[in-house]
Structures are given as structure tokens and as C-alpha cells.
Symmetry: D2
Subunit: 140 residues, 4 copies
């Protein structure tokens, strides 16, 4: 993807991200991508913790990942994130996890729905700060 | 899917599988499905730990999951697994994670390649015990 | 300790409980012990999830563990738990993690305080169901 | 402890470090402290991954932690580490986990033994690079 990422987050792989196979466990990739999503929100002035306190959640409804190369403890990786769909009910992201020579080690996508404290689907208010920011990612 | 699963594994969701959203973290699903894969091997007389000691690994090359319903700490879930591709170089699985009334809470797939200790792709020997068992899952 | 445990919980070690050292990560022991605590509550008719919904939490204030023997993926371990202090403000537990020949692989303790949703220390009401059960563990 | 730390490591708390209680899971603290240990080694020119490849492991034999204050997702914490014992067979560390105003949120210790690939106790060679560095921490 030629466009620059909408957000990047550099992460040091933890020893506890690995498993007995000697490499990072595949589930760790989803946790690193989550950190990049939170970083995107944080860079825009939104704290996911605060949103949750206000009763707004953004659970994952779908996700997938293709693993190209193993990732090891202490590796410095960079997660690149693109907002591929921005809506009042749903957001989608695309990710690349790159190593220290910028090689793409994994590519992934995730879809998210906005829910309230009861876990019910909800929509962002048209005049909410989150939507005013998020709609900047609408592409046509 | 009408066919009975090739393997099922009942799992008690751990409190440590949850996150501050109050539900099981989406990455936990991939760990539960992994336990079902190991259970399939174990039921067939293979220990994944022993296979790894002999230099055979089965890393995830692709995985995806669709999350239908939240899963909570202490929930008793059952992972249903189907072998959807069995080859000497590659295996694929399909999963359903069901709750205690058999409702499908998540569906997922994973693809795996056989690799050696150096992380290089390898193929099961035609007369290996693992392949003699695994080819029983060939469907035509 | 000669007395039979107040609760035991059998756990299959997950592959994702391990790290690149090839054995279960030391932090996994604390998660297994937590499952044994929840199991003790559950056996007495209390769901920790329900207690949390009612605004009662039982965070760890202190814990320690001595690791005698490595624990591997797929090991079947049994966590033995003793209630070593039962109070309206605080509980303490002692644990042994045993392998399949009953060998003690780790010993540990944890201390817990009751807190409310704001994280403030609280005390169980003298006539609460939880206290009526818990005070059965008072020893003199 | 008045002395400056032997190493510090700044860590962004991950959302996946939390649990359904809304705060970081107590086991997460042990993973953060591990990152600080690896950081100490790395700063001295040693990679724990390389040491493991050469057959040297440093498993935790004992650890304990006292939790003073809750830690939340996205908190920026700093782990301060002191080498409290340096020997050819064993190392001990003391830790403080501090928040962004330097308040001490948790204090902990860990003890480690050197082992080989078979899990047997071993001692650093007197002329090994690791020991030549480590003995600088001997205090009398």
C-alpha cells in the first residue's frame, strides 16, 4: 500500500509475547495491533479508557492476520495502521507489522463496532467529538 | 456445518483471559483454538511438545475469527474443530466456539505450515506416523 | 502442610502459558492460582463475576511464589489452596502447584483486600452471604 | 531506596495487560519487570535471546510483589531495577514500578538461577563476558 500509514506505533516485543516455539505467539500480533489503535486515538486526543468510562466500547467483530516471518523477543517492530472504513457504527483498519529494516512481517485487518455498556450496538452522535475527527478518514 | 466436529475441547474461560472491557480479550479466542488443536493431536497419540523436540513445528500462517457474542470469565465454552485441509506441507482448520447452550459465539479458521527448527518449510515424510494419521482427514 | 486443601483445581497448561525458554512463564502460575481462587468461590456458590457486578472486588495486594520445578505445555497440574486468613477486610491463601505424580512444583501465597468499584477498601457486612461462608475458615 | 536504580525501563501499559476488574492484572507486573531485566542486559551488550541460544537460561526461582496502587491501560510506568545479589550461580533483583509522578505503585523482588538447556543448575565461567560485567554489581 503506497499511502503513508494513518498511524504507526513502535513496540518492543516482550519475552512474555513468545511461546515454547521460540517466537512470538500468533495471538501477540493482535495485542500489538490493538496498541496501535489506542495510539491512533491517543494521538487524536482520545483516551480509550475515558471513552469506556463514558460508556463507549469498540470491540473487535472480525479480525484476520497473515504471518509472513517469525518475530522474536526484544525485536523492535513498528505497527502501521490505515483506517479503511470510518462510520458512525463501525470502523475498519488495515495493519502491517514491520521489522527494523521495514520488511513486512505480518499483514492484518480488524473490524469494530461501537457498543454501549450493555454490549448493544450503538452509533456515534453526528456532533460527537469522536465522529467529527473520525469522519476525516472518509474516502471517496 | 452439519458434520460432527473432528475434535472438541471444553475450556473454562480464565479471569486472566478478560480485559478491562469486562469480556474475554479477542486474542484469547486464538489461544483456546490452539488448545483444541493440541487436543486433537493428543487424542490421536501425538504430543505437540514431543513433535517440537523432534524438530517439527506447526506455526500459524493465517488465521481469522468472527466474534458473534461476548464471552465472560468462568464461562464454560466448547471449541469445535474441523480439519478442512490435510496435506504433507500444510493443514487447515475450521472452528466454532460454542457456549453452554451450544450457541455459536465465534467462528474461525487457521492455516498452518510444517517447519523445522530453523523455521524452514518442510513436508511430512510419507511414512511418518503423523502423516499416516493425518491423511485420514483427506476428503474428496 | 498435612491438612487437606480447602480447594483444588485441575488445570491443563496451555501452550500459550509458555515462553521461548520452553517452559511455562512464571507469570502463568499466578493465573492458575487465580483460577483456583475462583473455583473455591464457585464451589461455595459465589461467582466472582457476580460479586464484581455488585461492586465487590478482591484485588491482590501481595503475592509471592517459589518455583521448584519447570512446568510444560499440556502438563496436567493441580492447584491446592488453603485459606490461611479469613477476615471481613482481607483474605490470604496458600497454594501448592502439583504435577501428575503429586510432586510439588511451586508454592505460593497471595493476600487480597476487599474493595469497591472506586478501588477503596471496604469490609464485608457481618450478615453478608460471603462473610457467613468465609468465617467458617477462621481458625483458632 | 536512596541509590539510583541500576536500570530503568519505561513501558506503556497495554490494554491486554488489563482484566475485567478494569486494572492491570497482577501477573502483568511480573512481565514488565522481566522487560526491565532484559533491558539491563541489553544496555550492557547482552541479548537474552543470544544467551539462550548459547544454552544459558536465567529462570525465576522466587518472586514476590506488593501492589500499592492500581495501574491502568495506557499508563506510562517506569520500572526501576536494582541488582541486589550478583553471583556466578544466582542473581537477585529489587524493583519499583513508578507512575508518571514518580509515585511507587508496586515493589517487588525476583531471584534467578543460571541453568543450561537441560534445566540443570550451572555457574558462569569466571572469565565469561557475562560474569566480568555482572561482578561489577558485587557490593561489600
Amino acid at each position: 500500500m503506497g499511502n503513508p500509514a494513518d498511524h504507526t506505533e513502535s513496540i518492543r516485543v516482550r519475552f512474555s509475547d513468545t511461546d515454547a516455539g521460540g517466537i512470538a505467539h500468533h495471538s501477540s500480533h493482535f495485542r500489538w495491533m490493538e496498541e496501535c489503535r489506542l495510539g491512533l486515538l491517543r494521538a487524536a486526543g482520545f483516551s480509550y479508557g475515558d471513552l469506556q468510562k463514558e460508556g463507549l466500547h469498540l470491540p473487535v467483530t472480525d479480525c484476520s492476520c497473515k504471518f509472513n516471518q517469525p518475530i522474536y523477543s526484544e525485536d523492535e517492530i513498528t505497527v502501521h495502521l490505515w483506517v479503511t472504513h470510518a462510520g458512525r457504527a463501525r470502523i475498519e483498519f488495515r495493519y502491517e507489522i514491520r521489522g527494523d529494516t521495514n520488511e513486512v512481517k505480518a499483514v492484518a485487518i480488524s473490524s469494530h463496532a461501537f457498543t454501549n455498556d450493555s454490549g448493544l450496538l450503538t452509533r456515534l452522535a453526528v456532533d460527537s467529538g469522536l465522529w467529527l475527527w473520525l469522519k476525516g478518514y472518509l474516502r471517496d
